[in-house]
Amino acid sequence: MLSGGAFDEIWGAGGPGHVRPEFAALGRWLDETPPAEFGRRLEAAEATFRQLGITFAVYGDADAAERIIPFDIVPRVFTANEWAGLSDGLVQRVGAINAFLDDIYGEREILRAGVLPPDLIFQNPQFRPEIAGARPPHGIWAHICGIDCVRTGPDEFYVLEDNARTPSGVSYMLENREAMIRLCPELFREFRVAAVDSYPDMLLETMRSVAPSGAGQSPVCVVLTPGHFNSAYYEHSFLADSMGVELVEAADLVVDDDIVWMRTIGGRVKVDVIYRRIDDDYLDPLVFRPDSLLGVPGLISAYRAGNVALINAPGNGIADDKAIYSYMPEIVRFYSGADAKLPNVQTFRCREPVALKYVLDHLGELVVKLVDGSGGYGMLVGPTASRAEIEEFRAALIAAPERYIAQPTLALSTVPTVTEAGLAPRHVDFRPFVLTGRNFTRVVPGGLTRVALKEGSLVVNSSQGGGTKDSFVLMPDAPGGPGQSQAQTQGQER
């Protein structure tokens, strides 16, 4: 779609051969490393990933039941300044998401103030009335957020999507870094890259900080997985392993008298904090889907009784819903009293007549999405759509405008990527991870860069041929430079 002319993270606006001044060293490295050497290192990386079993399962694809996500060796790099700006915005946004969730399942002041139309909440399938009135321990809802961002120019970062339920990908952030240190050690001599390997410690600290008050000095923390057939199982086990906590399946847990226990060889052990990687729907068959075999009967009752912390809290889906997304700037302003530092992608709510008129007049330039759609379904990509598709969407929009939003097609930034024809720009997005504990919100200095490996493609999704890259966050070199104290984490203590 939009390839030529996009801003390149390394090459800037000048195209190949015109490296941004900050990245002169990286440019030399790209020039001086023979293409065949890139190929050899990529093969080595692939062999390592396969040997470690860093795979994701593709459902319904017997031949490729276990695939490796393609890895690219050219990193995406953030300068210290870029990172400081981005992480400020992320901390602010996640703070607002937490305040919003606490409010919407509690006092609902934001509705009383008229900032959001109430039907957007109450008629939203992501709103969980089962949870209303149940406050998670210490009022933290979204402990782990993955905020998907895109960049379109030197100073233009946008949030594309908030993931406040169970965002995945952090194991790739860590493994990609491991691979880079082994394959391209020379880059780390050239650049001072902030370390990401403290993530598991930060996560455990986050979990322990939100343990229910009755948990005692050493709260028992576990990671709850649907099992080893789940596509993200590698990540689940990786995280449990690196935190030194048990990786449990639902069958390992039993709820008795509103207390959660796990079955061990020595009998039952009380569980205080659960990092659950199971969706709300499958969490507790007594409250959500009764047909689910993945869930733990009675878990929500124990949660309501305040005996266990669930990470992330159930009901969070209302905060990362597409319809709510369009109100994020207002939500941030309502709770933080300031404008959002990280803007949304411009979004037209078709429920509003003025917006609807604009959308109908510009269908050929816009991306139109169903508010409750996902995975590319119920979507119109104007610039590549046929006349018939456009007319079909026009009719649907006029019939039920409240079901749609529309956004301009973005010129996503690119990063040089190893291709068969040598280095070439490929579009990327970026998922940083934000952790919120009892008294802090922190951004890990790094994240997951996803890259669309097909020329010109904007699809970075792993199941559709997307790959990953390491994401370098450079340490500030100048004394007293921005974020001098952010060696390990960035963010604010609350």
Partner: protein, 311 residues
């Protein structure tokens, strides 16, 4: 430790041991086949099937018993539950379920062994059988080495416990097959083929040199039986496996404070073993003795599963 984790670790130990045993068996049978005139060669392959209790499953494939068909059945055939490929698959599934309890080294060792059979296009199927079993043995040794450097805690002990229970079973079955393995017509007990068969059995358990060290006499069936049943010095002997089970259960009990029926059974078996003389075993009937041992081993397995609440 989660009960499910304990169970998976235990089965992981069993399946790795089983894969290793199958590899050794194939290797030894190839040798026996090569050393013998052809009728004995086929008998060797038949015996390999009966040691692994897979003669019926093989018959169901309606293939003829040949070196090639049985080798394939015992190594790469995933339709055979006892094949090396199937054992490694099971081992890896268990390892995956308990990845958090394994070190990266231990996991990679299992995954590497599994990849030999499951890498794209299954190159293993074109590897020469001897190269293949060598590779499997090397990888299982790698896994044992890796577990040796895991923390000395429950995780390691459950793996070792499963391996020891499995090893006891394998050695008993291996010895028992000599009872079923008929000598070709015209061959004498104590003749060349008979000797080859006993040597092969020693070879399966890597005990040819051990035999020379232990006994000054030449190869005698009664001494091979002695070595493989009551000699504690040989890790793969019945006595060695029985002792290993008790050692591991003692360590587990110390750490977890969990003692029970399985401990009592394991100790009782050890005491009996210490009093057992191989001469008496032979006089009373090796086949009967081995069958009783295998049954007792199964009962002990069931008691372990109960004691640690395996799910």
């Amino acid at each position: 430790m989660l009960s499910r984790t304990a169970s998976s670790l235990y089965w992981l130990g069993r399946y790795i041991e089983r894969a290793d045993f199958a590899a050794r068996l194939v290797e030894a049978t190839i040798r026996l086949d090569a050393l013998s005139p052809s009728p004995a060669g086929v008998a060797a392959w038949r015996s390999a099937l009966s040691v692994t209790y897979s003669d019926k499953a093989f018959a169901a494939t309606e293939r003829e018993v040949t070196a090639a068909s049985v080798t394939r059945f015992l190594t790469t055939d995933t339709g055979n539950h006892g094949s090396i490929a199937a054992c490694l698959d099971q081992a890896r599934n268990n390892a995956k379920a308990v990845r958090t309890a394994l070190t990266r080294d231990a996991w990679t060792a299992i995954n590497r062994a599994w990849l030999i059979f499951n890498a794209r296009g299954r190159p293993a199927s074109t590897m020469a059988p001897l190269t293949l079993v060598e590779a499997v043995k090397a990888e299982t040794r790698g896994f044992e080495g890796a577990t040796h450097w895991m923390m000395r805690n429950q995780a390691t002990w459950f793996i070792r416990l499963g391996a020891a229970i499995e090893r006891a079973d394998n050695t008993a079955r291996l010895l028992d097959v000599k009872y079923h393995l008929l000598l070709p017509k015209g061959e004498q007990v104590g003749g060349t083929v008979d000797r080859d068969q006993w040597t092969t059995i020693l070879q399966v358990v890597s005990a040819v040199t051990a035999y020379r060290w232990m006994y000054s006499e030449g190869l005698k069936p009664s001494l091979v039986i002695d070595l493989l049943t009551t000699r504690f010095e040989l890790p793969r002997s019945l006595a060695g496996s029985v002792e290993e089970v008790v050692e591991v259960m003692t360590l587990l009990g110390k750490r977890t404070g969990l003692h029970g029926e399985a401990d009592r059974m394991a100790r009782a078996r050890l005491t009996t073993m210490q009093r057992t003389r191989s001469h008496d075993v032979i006089v009373k009937g090796l086949h009967q003795y081995l069958n009783a041992f295998i049954r007792e081993n199964e009962l002990l397995h069931a008691a372990i599963a109960r004691q640690f609440r395996f799910t």
